[in-house]
């Protein structure tokens, strides 16, 4: 599979996750979101950027529980709950947000 963004073609796996993390550009996230009828707002970007930073530091995509806790700490308690995250990413904050961020599927995500 592949996704078109920025006039370029990016290779993805069969579930739509970017094959090469280093290929990622913000336009890739926008294109992936558009393909799922989702328009990215600043709130989405806060999560996407957080995930990229987390991966950069620890080399893993955090599980939803870890993401929720970390978001609560960094972006405020009112955002650190699964309701807020599921509203932003209805297909599952782990899977959907990690995909847009160019990360692999989170460990422990089935």
């Amino acid at each position: 599979m592949a996704i078109e963004a920025n006039g370029k073609t990016y290779e993805t796996d069969e579930e739509g996750y970017l094959s090469n993390l280093n290929d990622w550009e913000p336009e890739v996230a926008t294109a992936m979101a558009a393909a799922e009828d989702c328009e990215l707002t600043q709130e989405h970007w806060d999560i996407i950027n957080f995930l990229r930073e987390y991966y950069e530091e620890y080399q893993i995509a955090p599980a939803v529980r870890v993401l929720t806790k970390a978001v609560g700490k960094r972006l405020g308690k009112e955002k650190g709950n699964s309701k807020y995250l599921y509203e932003l990413f209805p297909y599952g904050p782990g899977k959907q947000a990690c995909k847009y961020a160019g990360l692999p599927k989170p460990t422990g995500c089935v």
């Binding site: 620890y58 080399q59 955090p62």
Partner: protein
């Protein structure tokens, strides 16, 4: 009902797949809200050493993943004292693993517990499931 899972790590980090596989299973177990403990004995203590450089073997280092264990509420990391000493290592040679206590305004607390061989065997006695890597 959460069970007590103990993962025993016995091998050096590279050269075999054991260390990385253990880490993957640990993260999966923790993601399912189980009570997870880790023990590092024998050459397994090398998995936690800091300043690892994997350039020479052309592999990516997975050392940073240990630093994320605290986020997964994996904060019972037992290191066997004798194993460290036999290899001329001290706690200072290991990565400083911490976890944040949400109930105490995210205060950072140490995850590593240095235990003697006999103390560790008591800890193992107390587990529901013991997995050896």
């Amino acid at each position: 009902m959460a069970k007590k899972f103990m993962y025993i790590n016995r091998k050096a980090p590279y050269g075999t797949i054991y260390a990385l596989e253990s880490l993957e299973v640990v993260l999966i177990g923790a993601a399912f809200d189980q009570d997870v403990s880790l023990a590092f004995i024998g050459d397994g203590v090398y998995q936690l050493t800091k300043g690892q450089n994997t350039k020479g073997i052309g592999q990516k280092s997975f050392s940073p993943v240990y630093m994320a264990l605290g986020d997964y509420d994996v904060n019972k990391i037992y290191v066997e004292k004798e194993s460290l000493e036999e290899r001329g290592l001290t706690l200072d040679d290991l990565q400083h693993l911490v976890w944040e206590d949400e109930d105490e305004d995210y205060a950072e607390k140490d995850s590593i517990r240095l235990v003697s061989r006999s103390e560790l065997s008591d800890v193992l006695d107390d587990q529901d499931v013991v997995l050896s890597f």
